[in-house]
Amino acid sequence: MLTRAALLRNTMNLNEKIYGLIAEFKGDEEVLTATRAAYDRGYRKMDAFAPFPVEGLPEALGRKRTAIPVIVFAGGAFGCLGGYLLQWYAMTVSYPLNIGGRPLNSWPMFIPITFELTILSAAFAAIIGMLVLNKLPLPHHPLFNVPEFERASSDKFFLCIQADDPKFDLRETRRFLEMLKPESIAEVPAE
């Protein structure tokens, strides 16, 4: 008969060996209901997966707004100021030329390039910001070890509760997920 301490140790070891539990659902409404139920239960370290963006799903997971708009604005501001400064410096300080009698700081003529560089810079900020915040590119993730997960990019929806969530317990969480009536439940092996 194992002591209570040994039992606890065993369970903890079991929890460490897996990344989490993943449940498969067949529709976006089902996964939304399931995620809300899981959040109400107290689970926080979880993620939901869908082949397209589902409205309400990030909020159900407890996510608020993203930082992307601020990043894009910062990128745009950088491009705008940088672009104007580049032209101003070149055309008034470094190599001034009399072009058609225009004043050296001919700001109307500097507008097109400033505008283009604002947009270019904002676009870079958007894509790089999105990838960095998403921690992509990521060569491998434990979820790809689950064969059913392939369908996440096609027609199935998933909810994954991670093992390092404070309320996670292999048996309890599995029982909870079964109550949500998924198509299947799988353990996600960790690496």
């Binding site: 082949p51 708009p69 055309m91 072009i99 947009i119 270019l120 998403n134 060569p139 096609s154």
Partner: protein, 464 residues
């Protein structure tokens, strides 16, 4: 599809709104799985077992690409004297081709960015393809200002890099603005295209059957795992990219138009040119899109996803833009008369009744009169008729650019500078060669990448 099934689907696609327009965005019976299957299977067909038409198209495109390479090689060896340009017509086919190709690229961003901001759901069936068409068109466009330089090998002097000569580019020149505008347009389109493509690449990765394909698509998909949190960031970034690409679309061809508008040449020096060029650009872009998409739709059986409703909407937009171009022609002629400027009046009269007059009247027919057929819903819903109207508009816009750019130069201020412009064989070969480059890139795209936005189409399929 069984015959009864096909009949039901065709009948459903024929459903009309109360006003009589085709209603369905997606054929009934399309679900998440079938959308992925229809589009993904084109990409994942093994090896050489492509449809014969694809192989023929690839062969034709590659041959024209070889013609392009030979023309470029000969140009670099002998210089721009092999073309028909000279003083006073210093800008001939090469610049006409440049403006034409940049114009064609505008449809992609219009459909992707502007229609997204306007909540036009029907854009999903065509946005990926037109974004790609934009990238291919800009690639072709970018070649011409470079080739057109006397010394293409020092083209980088136009960029503001720290050099040993202490020189800067002339930032007050529209030609330098061009470089920034077209360069930004290509880069931003590429970013926007790739951002939208990442989830679809993940789908192809997950359905890949060979290890090689899985690795390549997996590498390109950056490990995307469809997390809802990632989707939230992705959609925000995508929407913001659309928001900034919208003013970009309007500005790029305006800047290209400024190449002419800021010059003194009568026939060029008009304030109508920036908006006129932008409208004409989107017009020719839609025309080119139809010319390539309609055969592809037929070949790969994409009727369930690119439905009559799409054709109807595209036809309507083309009609509006064509009429905006017609308005621009009228304003040009009117302003030339109203201004009382004798040089402007002389150039405009020469355009209609001079040595190139026949081109002007042909232009009116193919660019203005033929597309009026789009008023008829029957024409808009008939792919064959739509194809030929689009072809007419496509060629018409090329002729329009030729008329403004080259023919204005044949008849500027003093009679001593009036001269005819005749293209040489190399002008013509370079032009067809650039079509080869364009088609080659399109053919490769159709083969290797999903040509419809799968994740967005799935959204529609699930919301029904």
């Amino acid at each position: 599809m069984t015959p009864e099934n096909e009949q039901t689907i065709l009948a459903a696609l024929d459903q009309r709104t109360p006003l009589g327009y085709p209603a369905r965005l997606l054929a009934p019976g399309e679900n998440l799985e079938s959308v992925t299957e229809t589009i993904g299977s084109i990409v994942l067909k093994p090896g050489l077992r492509q449809p014969k038409a694809w192989l023929f198209a690839a062969a034709g495109a590659f041959s024209l690409l070889m013609v392009f390479f030979v023309s470029i090689a000969w140009l670099l060896y002998r210089g721009t004297g092999i073309w028909g340009i000279n003083i006073p017509i210093a800008w001939g086919f090469a610049i006409v081709n440049f403006v034409w190709w940049v114009g064609i690229g505008h449809a992609g961003t219009f459909i992707s960015a502007i229609l997204l901001l306007l909540h036009q759901k029907w854009r999903t069936a065509i946005n990926r393809f037109t974004e790609t068409m934009t990238l291919c068109a800009i690639s072709c466009a970018g070649m011409f200002p470079l080739l057109h330089l006397g010394r293409p090998w020092v083209a980088f002097w136009m960029a503001p890099y720290p050099d040993t000569m202490g020189l800067w580019p002339q930032f007050r020149s529209p030609l330098v603005w061009d470089m920034f505008a077209v360069g930004t347009y290509f880069t931003v389109s590429l970013i926007f295209w790739y951002c939208g493509l990442i989830p679809d690449l993940a789908t192809v990765r997950d359905r890949a059957t060979t290890r090689g394909r899985r690795l390549i698509y997996g590498f390109l998909a950056l490990g995307w795992r469809n997390s809802a949190v990632h989707w939230q960031r992705h959609q925000t970034a995508y929407l913001l990219l659309a928001g900034i690409a919208t003013p970009l679309v309007l500005s790029v061809h305006s800047v290209v138009g400024m190449d002419f508008a800021v010059a003194m040449v009568p026939g060029w020096h008009e304030t109508i040119i920036p908006p006129y060029f932008v409208a004409g650009a989107i017009y020719s872009g839609f025309a080119m899109m139809l010319n390539i998409l309609l055969p592809i739709r037929r070949l790969y059986g994409l009727h369930n996803i690119i439905t009559p409703r799409h054709l109807n909407n595209i036809g309507n937009i083309m009609l509006v833009l064509g009429n905006m171009v017609a308005y621009s022609y009228i304003i040009e002629e009117f302003m030339a008369w109203y201004s009382g400027d004798i040089f402007e009046q002389s150039t405009m009269a020469d355009r209609a009744f001079g040595s190139y007059g026949w081109i002007f009247w042909a232009l009116i027919v193919i660019n203005i009169l033929v597309p009026q057929a789009l008023w008829s819903r029957r024409v808009r819903l008939n792919p064959v008729a739509l194809f030929f109207v689009a072809l007419s508009a496509n060629l018409g816009m090329w002729v329009d650019h030729f008329l403004i750019i080259a023919v204005s130069l044949t008849h500027d201020f003093t009679p001593s500078t009036w001269k005819m412009y005749y293209p040489t064989i190399w002008d013509i070969l370079t032009m067809f060669g650039s079509v080869g480059l364009f088609l080659t890139l399109i053919v490769l795209f159709v083969r290797f990448l999903p040509l419809i936005a799968m994740s967005e189409t799935r959204e529609h399929a699930s919301k029904r």
